[in-house]
């Protein structure tokens, strides 16, 4: 049936126009980009627009679509990192705090369990040697009583740690359920902190996402190199204020029970013995800003929250005259003497910083410490020039491919070829429209996907046209030939495209980065090309046919 109802016509034309409208901002990429940036900046500023921002916002009319195709790192340039979070780091910290609970309980029962001593371990377990092995089960029972239930989906009754004993040693270990929960929390925290740190640097549209169990993918467009990014997110940035016991030049000095030995950050060969328990830590900071100390050297100003301020005030007023250390990631930044009680809740960290270092330190302190260390499994830096070259090459190649296919189709199918060509142009426009609308990322393989689509998109039309040719040859009249052509080609079009779509889907699920970008454009290309072939060209053919009513078909 060659009749297409008016309603359907409107829907088909409407969808095409909508697709093209979404694609259109990409023709004015820089202008729309400044507009979008300005809108975002104004929103951040609470709706207040400076004159410059307002002008930038006005560069693109508000009522037009303004979503753009995101350019992938390989086109825009930038840094890509795949980090693995050492989730086991956190187990040790958990064990330390469990020890803090266990120790007083066991000490109270010393009459029964005998002397107790914590053994050094580095596998995330807590091992305690008990003096009286006869009552070791009692001791284990005392520890077990401290365990708390963990909420899990699979089983109730799981506790946060499990206790076992062998000989005279009791081993406390996090339960599997607790490990899972802890890992999850560690990753979530790391994600959040990385996000804050990257946002502080203020680059556009960073991608920060969890990958698999314990990995985080970070992509920051426009950043100079992966090294810079590593420096920004690779530091744990755990800041603590710890009482100083003594200062030494001996790297092998024994710090003694409850103390630690940390090197000085800028004095070679100087070490400090510190009390292990921090007075205040970076978690109690509310703000940190780069500044200069009274000697004009770069420094960092910080401010505590009320809790931190009280702890710090109490400690400093009780210890006037003695030194305390400012420690960052197990290195002593400085160890000033407390001249007077510091009750205001703010202070200044000075060390041998450059201006840049003090800036970075302030960023890191504001964003907070990472719960665990990270190792970097994959890193890529793509320079913006290389990206620009790739875009340019991709554009040229697409245009040439376009011209070649258009010419070839015109020569092969005449008037019908021209209809297919119009459909092809609409098709590519709609791919861009869809890419913009769903906020997909265009990568270099993605451009290849579009070029491939240019070549393959005509396939559905070719199938139809060949079929119309055959039907005409078989002696059918024009209307019947067109009708049968579309009807009979449909199953081939659908089967052929579903299979290709399936492989695109697999690529999307399994691939990463650029490959995923390719899968997206290929998949969208299949959708739009089937849509244009089945609906758009058909509508065009039918409208042409209604007007001309040709006696014979020239396919």
């Amino acid at each position: 049936m060659l009749n297409i109802s008016l309603f359907r016509r409107i829907v088909i034309i409407g969808l095409v126009v909508l697709g093209l409208a979404y694609a259109m901002p990409n023709l004015f990429y820089p202008r729309v980009e400044t507009h979008n940036d300005a809108v975002q900046a104004i929103e951040l500023a609470g709706g207040e627009a400076s004159e410059e921002l307002a002008a930038q916002r006005a560069a693109w009319p508000e009522w037009l679509p303004s979503s753009l195709v995101n350019l992938g790192l390989d086109l825009r340039g930038g840094a890509h990192l795949l980090a693995e979070v050492q989730v086991e780091d956190v187990y040790e910290q958990r064990m330390d705090s469990i020890w803090q609970e266990v120790f007083p309980v066991l000490r109270e029962s010393r009459a029964v369990v005998g002397t107790i001593r914590k053994l050094d371990t580095d596998d995330g377990t807590l091992q305690i040697r008990v003096g009286n092995t006869d009552h070791i089960e009692d001791a284990a029972e005392l520890i077990r009583a401290l365990a708390q239930p963990v909420m899990t989906i699979t089983g109730t009754g799981a506790t946060n740690f499990v206790v076992s004993h062998e000989g005279d040693v009791i081993t406390v270990e996090l339960s599997d359920a607790e490990k899972l929960a802890t890992d999850d929390r560690t990753i979530q925290q790391s994600l959040e902190i990385i996000r804050r740190r990257v946002d502080e640097v203020g680059t556009r549209e960073p991608t920060i996402q969890r990958q698999g169990e314990d990995r985080i993918l970070i992509q920051v467009p426009g950043l100079g190199s992966a090294d810079e990014l590593k420096a920004l997110i690779g530091t744990t940035a755990r800041l603590t204020f710890q009482p100083v016991v003594s200062r030494t030049q001996d790297a092998d000095a024994r710090p003694g029970v409850g103390n630690v030995l940390y090197p000085s950050m800028d004095e070679e060969g100087v070490y400090y013995v510190l009390e292990d328990t921090a007075v205040v830590s970076g978690e109690d900071l509310v703000d940190a800003q780069p500044s200069f100390n009274q000697n004009g050297q770069p420094a960092v100003n910080f401010r505590f929250n009320p809790h931190g301020a009280r702890l710090f005030g109490d400690y400093t007023s009780a210890n006037v005259g003695s030194p305390f250390a400012i420690v960052l990631d197990e290195e002593v930044i400085s160890a000033p003497r407390i001249n007077e009680a510091i009750t205001g809740g703010s202070g200044i960290i000075s060390g041998a910083f450059t201006v840049e270092e003090s800036n970075n330190l302030a960023v890191l302190l504001r964003a907070g410490a990472l719960p665990a260390e990270m190792t970097f499994l994959e890193e890529r830096t793509i320079g913006p020039e290389l990206g620009a070259d790739s875009i340019e090459a991709g554009e040229l190649a697409s245009l040439v491919a376009f011209a070649g296919v258009l010419l070839f189709m015109g020569l092969s199918y005449g008037w019908f070829g021209i209809i297919a060509n119009v459909a092809l142009i609409l098709n590519v426009g709609m791919i861009f429209g869809l890419l913009s609308a769903i906020g997909a990322t265009l990568t270099l393989p993605g451009i290849a996907g579009i070029v491939l689509t240019i070549g393959m998109a005509v396939d559905a039309n070719v199938l139809v046209f060949e079929r119309i040719r055959e039907e005409t040859k078989a002696g059918r009249g024009p209307a019947r030939a067109i009708e049968l052509g579309y009807e009979k080609a449909l199953s081939a079009i659908v089967d052929a495209n579903i299979t290709t779509f399936l492989t695109a889907g697999i690529l999307f699920i399994m691939g990463s980065g650029p490959v995923k970008g390719f899968a997206v454009t290929l998949g969208l290309g299949i959708i739009t090309s089937v849509f244009t072939a089945i609906f758009v060209t058909r509508l065009m053919v039918v409208m042409w046919f209604e007007r001309r009513r040709p006696k014979t078909l020239e396919v």
Binding site: A448, G455, E466, S512
Partner: protein, 322 residues
């Protein structure tokens, strides 16, 4: 006058030499497997781990001098290749420096990259490094597995889909053609030592998709003709179907090739390997949908009479039940 790639009406017999063509395909598959094991693939860092640094300079690239400059750093296997591309300006000289994976799970250290860059800068202070990519051995091992799974998953899905839509004989024919295409592509990559990386896997899957596209169009017509000409010999039905779809097959292959060749020539060196794989795949895929998929279908036979249970299929080979 219209441009026609094939005559209006063709009645070519595509199975006259089917022993020869199937044998030829089998031989090519065998040679590809031999090449894969004897020569091996030139794996990129995605699959092998390691670091690539792209250099760009005004001075011409002197591979020997680069090698000498980096040698004292003792980084193990270092390969340096100059890159040529028609898009490069006259003062644009590009090379790729590839360093093998270092110890441990991690990607390369900042210091090592810095050391290599410094060493190259002593040769040419103006040299720049437009891209640096580093993949640790842990990740690359996983990427290899993911890639293998992806290709297997694609082939498996196709097998099931075609089986659902057609008959199992079609499914076997289509998948044999796919495996043929994938193996031949791997073969050409090992013979020509083109870098084989994640993008190549994407290309492989696209080839799977494209080749299937072709095969399905032919099969769709076979299915239709089988219903229409109930008494016709299977061989004739296949020949008729291929002849009828031949014009479309050629049209689509040519338009796709036009687009791909434009991309190959002008798309830049970064994706040239990727595009090459696809061009190869289109050619091989078009060939295999006729000479592998359909030829196998002819040998396997098809259930013709829908009222009876299986049996009495087109050829004597139909007794071979799988």
């Amino acid at each position: 006058m219209r441009l026609r790639l094939v005559p209006q009406e063709t009645t070519w017999d595509f199975f006259k030499r089917s022993k020869f063509t199937l044998g030829f395909s089998g031989l090519m598959v065998l040679l590809s497997v031999v090449a894969f094991f004897a020569i091996g693939l030139n794996f990129g860092i995605d699959f092998r781990g390691g670091t690539t640094i792209r250099t760009e300079s005004v001075e011409p690239v002197d591979v020997g001098a680069y090698r000498d400059a980096i040698a004292p750093l003792e980084l193990g296997d270092v390969s340096i290749t100059e890159v040529f591309d028609p898009n490069f300006g006259p003062d644009q000289n590009v090379a790729m420096v590839r360093i093998q994976a270092q110890q441990g799970d991690e990607s390369i250290s900042v210091e090592t990259i810095q050391a290599v860059e410094d060493a190259l800068k002593t040769l040419d202070p103006e040299i720049t490094f437009p891209s640096v990519e580093s993949v640790g051995p842990k990740v690359s091992g996983e990427l290899v597995m993911t890639a293998i799974y992806a290709v297997l998953a694609a082939i498996g899905t196709v097998l099931i889909y075609i089986w659902l839509r057609f008959e199992w004989q079609f499914s076997v024919g289509a998948v044999a053609a796919l495996i043929h295409d994938v193996v031949l592509t791997i073969g050409v990559f090992s013979v020509l030592q083109i870098q084989f990386d994640l993008a190549t896997i994407a290309a492989l899957l696209t080839i799977v998709g494209y080749s299937l596209n072709d095969t399905v169009v032919v099969f769709d017509r076979v299915r239709e003709n089988l219903r229409r000409y109930k008494k016709m010999d299977l061989r004739e039905v296949l020949n008729l179907s291929i002849n009828e779809t031949l014009s479309r097959t050629m049209m689509t292959s040519v338009t796709t090739l036009i687009a791909l060749i434009a991309l190959f020539a002008l798309g830049g060196d970064v994706i040239r390997g990727f595009v090459f794989a696809m061009i190869w795949g289109v050619v091989v895929g078009t060939y295999s949908s006729v000479f592998v998929a359909s030829a196998l279908l002819l040998r396997l036979g098809v259930k013709r009479d829908w009222s009876k249970p299986d049996g009495g299929a087109g050829t004597q080979f139909a007794d071979v039940d799988a």
